[in-house]
Symmetry: C2
């Protein structure tokens, strides 16, 4: 499907027909998700495709029993992790090394710059310190303003995972099925179901299925672009 048709066609579907979705459809959409741009290419994402009937039932409950979850053929949980960057950094440097010489600038970036932003410390203590230092230097020249705190890091990584979510949703649309991104869920319960700890942040749960015509909330409603688009 043409990109613009997929973007136009994608709607949040709140109710699905009782029809399965082939495994290959989900696989292809996850492949598309993995190609999203992401912060420093550290690929901080995890995708949990919940197919076990009991776990799926629990997940529907954790999604507050929304019809889009309850009627979905498939449910995928998109997670951002604040703790996989050391492992991924190591593997990236190994892969780059296998491909040839790793430029010093790139190695320094991963070994010196990245930790600046990925180690907020206990209760963001280190982050507070770094934030203060950068605020002072920032009086004199442009400097990055974060992420320094734990919540800032979480926000940055959630943002990156959202880019992957959009690829996923468009890829499902292009294959003739529909999605709904859910933010209304009990994150504590979702994490418990998946056995995830404090370094994991549930970004979205996305339902997938064949659209029931009753699953669309009327004509798409977008406000006047003049409210949002500015040329300066």
């Amino acid at each position: 499907m043409n990109l613009f048709d997929a973007i136009e066609k994608r709607r949040s579907v709140r109710k699905y027909l009782n029809e399965p979705v082939a495994r290959a459809v989900i696989d292809k959409a996850i492949e598309a998700a993995l190609l999203a741009p992401n912060s420093s290419n550290l690929q901080p994402w995890e995708f949990y495709w919940v197919t076990h009937p009991e776990k799926k039932k629990q997940l529907v409950a954790a999604c507050l029993d929304q019809a889009t979850a309850a009627t979905a053929a498939e449910l995928v949980v998109f997670v951002a992790r604040t703790d996989t960057w050391r492992r991924n950094r190591q593997r990236i440097l190994e892969t780059l090394g296998q491909r040839g010489t790793v430029p010093k600038q790139q190695r320094d970036y991963y070994l010196k710059i990245v930790p600046l932003f990925y180690t907020p410390g206990w209760f963001s203590s280190l982050g507070l310190l770094k934030s203060a230092v950068f605020a002072v230097v920032g009086l004199f020249r442009p400097v990055p303003r974060g992420p320094f705190s734990k919540s800032g890091l979480r926000a940055t990584l959630s943002k990156t995972v959202a880019l992957a979510c959009e690829n996923f949703m468009l890829a499902i649309t292009a294959q003739g099925y529909s999605t709904c991104p859910m933010e209304g869920f009990d994150e504590s319960r979702v994490k418990k179901i998946l056995g995830l700890g404090g370094a994991a942040n549930v970004v979205m749960v996305i339902s997938v299925g064949r659209e029931d015509a009753a699953g669309i909330y009327g004509t798409r409603l977008r406000l006047d672009p003049k409210l949002f688009v500015f040329e300066v």
Copy 2:
């Protein structure tokens, strides 16, 4: 362009050729961005297309003089706002009213549920209280766990704006140009350039231009999907 080709073709481009990008290309990509799914359809985004030469120069400096910004034909700043929801909610309800009767459930959602999550209060004081109440109720049944704090709300809205960013980047790719999403910028300076206050959060600055072959960092590097994809 086919969706999967656009996803495959999109790479972060760090250097562009000295070639203009037609206005229609950016317009079309912003239109695509505006069609992204978003939190409660409250459309908390703003898109600043910086074309004024002096402001653009300042923006390049605020982007730490990265080559992708310095050589870009166009720069667009993607912003998440925590303060436009009341206005947008009002307009959504008006538009729905013009289209017919607004179901009570939908009206209640916007008037009663949405404020629960969009009013963290001074220093997240209200948010802390709500967070505690939900934690107690959550012992007995699934409940949403936020966003209650100011930082939680910012994270949620940044996530929503990132969905729009991905549409934008794919739309540029499908039109034969390239992009690079930047997170390395001085947010304080970017906000100053755009005249934005505390309720605005700069999610990304995206550069646009015609790819210089030297602007691509080698073959795409994605780690083994087994690290990220789990069926449970």
